[in-house]
């Protein structure tokens, strides 16, 4: 019987590093999508481990919507500087110039323009044949069905009914010209794994994940963070109140809710995650509505 055993987090880590290295070995021009959130923080940390002592062999790509939390922009710039990463920021400037926003155009159209189209344009412009993403299968039911190597046609679209079989840890990275692949090295991690790993490895994350008194709009069950510069995005009569709260997931500030929480440090966050009865995606307005994630993924969303 075996004397050596990896803990489950170390086993997940080894699997993720294996995947990241396979992509760098088999693709011409990979890029890592970097959303500034906790999953991205873990993904970048794993990539640094994979290539140590060499620097990251690919750039980080942030598809910015202009609606991210200001704490996220600050964190992003400091973090990338500190680890010496090559950061590329791209925005769908056409849509932003036309004043795209979730309140007037609807969440689906806004996401379609600023996130999906922004991403597809950025990938095409960079000529990337492989893009790493930090999606996890436990997040959402269509993601539960996605392969680690997710093939995309020339239009960046996903065909869920016709996915390549994926056997053992042998990944088929062969593609035709124009096709590309989205790669999800942390597919098998759960939210609990992410928080536990961040705690164990002391991985830096955006301060919004820690509980603090913050101005919030209370809309039904949701806590929507209040920012002066977003005030056009709130409904009539909505006024902020101070609420002890934090974020379990980070997206665009008008469309990401907070949760009431007293968890001010990593130990408390892990304890809270273990006891949580609600999924983290519940705080993302984008996921509500029938089929929305699958539809967006077919169109090219990551």
């Amino acid at each position: 019987m075996s004397k050596h055993k990896l803990t489950q987090l170390k086993a997940l880590e080894a699997e993720s590093i294996h995947i990241i290295r396979e992509v760098v070995a088999e693709f011409r021009n990979p890029v890592m999508l970097y959303s500034v959130g906790k999953d991205s923080s873990v993904l970048v940390h794993l990539a640094r481990k994979a290539f140590y002592p060499a620097p990251l062999p690919f750039p980080l790509l942030h598809v910015d919507t202009g609606f991210k939390f200001k704490e996220m922009y600050e964190f992003r710039d400091n973090f990338c500087k500190e680890i010496g990463a090559d950061l590329i920021v791209r925005r769908n400037e056409d849509a932003i110039a036309k004043g795209m926003n979730p309140k007037e155009f609807g969440v689906a159209r806004c996401c379609g323009a600023l996130k999906t189209q922004g991403l597809l344009d950025a990938l095409e412009e960079g000529g990337y044949d492989a893009a790493f993403g930090g999606a996890r299968r436990d997040e959402e039911k269509s993601r539960a069905k996605e392969r680690v190597f997710s093939m995309r046609d020339e239009f960046g679209q996903w065909d869920p009914k016709n996915q390549r079989p994926e056997l053992w840890n042998i990944y088929n990275g062969r593609i035709h010209d124009g096709e590309s692949v989205r790669v999800f090295p942390i597919s098998n991690w759960t939210e609990m794994d992410i928080w536990s790993y961040i705690r164990e490895e002391n991985i830096p994350i955006v301060p919004l994940y820690f509980a603090k008194e913050r101005p919030m709009i209370e809309r039904g069950d949701m806590l929507i963070p209040y920012y002066e510069e977003n005030k056009d995005q709130y409904l009539e009569g909505e006024e902020p109140t101070m609420v002890m709260s934090r974020f379990r997931t980070l997206g665009c500030s008008p469309c990401t809710g907070a949760v009431r929480s007293d968890a001010t440090n990593m130990d408390e966050i892990v304890i809270e995650a273990a006891a949580s009865k609600r999924s983290e995606r519940e705080t993302r307005i984008i996921d509500h509505g029938s089929n929305s994630m699958e539809d967006k993924k077919k169109e090219g969303y990551f």
Binding site: A25, K49, R174
Partner: protein, 426 residues
Amino acid sequence: MTKANFDLVKEIELLRLVTVGSVDDGKSTLIGRLLIDTKGAFEDQLMAVRKKKGATTVSSAADIDLAMLTDGLAAEREQGITIDVAYRYFATPKRKFIMADCPGHEQYTRNMVTGSSTANAAIILIDARNGVMPQTKRHTHILGLLGIPHLIVAVNKMDLVDYDQATFEKIREEMDEYCAKQGIKDLICTPISALTGDMVTIRGENMDWYEGDTLLETLESLSVLDDLDEKPFRMPVQLVNRPQTADLPDYRGFMGTIASGTIKVGDAITVVPSGLSSTVKEIVTFDGNLEEAFAPQSITLTLNDNIDISRGDMLVHTGEPTTGEKSLTANVCWIGDEPLERRKKYMIKHTTRQVKALVDDVVFKREIHTLEKEDADTLEMNEIGQIRFKLQQPLNCDSYAENRMTGSFIIIDSFTNNTVGAGMVV
């Protein structure tokens, strides 16, 4: 959870599990049951699939449409069937489970192979009313070929056969006999009712005649220890790390995941297929250098001699070579839309190496019910047989029975780039 528990949580083991079965044998209900009873599904996810739209709470499997919870794709919900593998995650205080939920329809057998290849254990579901179906045998045969260490037959819907022991025993005997024919040992049979939860997470009172563990107890107690680290050392090289920075102008590290065995600083290694040898200088990781590393760690090795090594080469302990021949015989599960063609050239990806391979001979095809060998010229999708390949370059393999990592490969159609076969070296 309290602070004192952090160290315990760290020690949690990982069990990779696959569930397979025929259509309508209640797999979604079982998975829903496991997710709800282990709190692997969140309240808002359950509320979204509740049966009564007005309901304000969901507490039992009966309150929700379980198939809606597990069938994540629109096409699946339209057709009421599972098309692709869905991965589910749940945990008990002892273990974290990664469960690949595999479709039952024959046309989706290839997805079942996808979900099973990495599993430590499989649950094969059988509807007690229907008994052992052709699909049950196909799936069991594939699980046997893939070398899944633990097979559990869950005879479901016992509530619909009045919890009848004789019905269960008949199915158990038939499965025992089928498995014995292909040398599968360690078969566990459990009667369950996924709907009521009897013998899934609770014992219940209806099957006192059954003395074994509940399904969840079984899943928590199966051995997850493999002996991968005690097998000969194998490390396929993924990449050569040459930072060429000011600090590290001449650094050359060999990056890879240890497929099997252990490696220590100072060990003598040989590169296959070249046969060049050296000794290990350092075992490098981001968290500091190690004295010893073992499977399945992902590491970087530096050596004491400057020898030629590149992606696709394998590092082994000197004196523990692999085979390295230009022909290869393997059991193959064919998963391509187009049938396998004799004399056609495919690509084989084995560990980190890709070689051209010519189909030299279909040695036999396996009849799935009787397990007899049949003469054949081809394999159609979902068929299983033994194939002899001629290789453009030698591959360094072990037999699949010896080593699941270095004995497995995929077959790629070089025209479509699709993965068309799963190979297991004989």
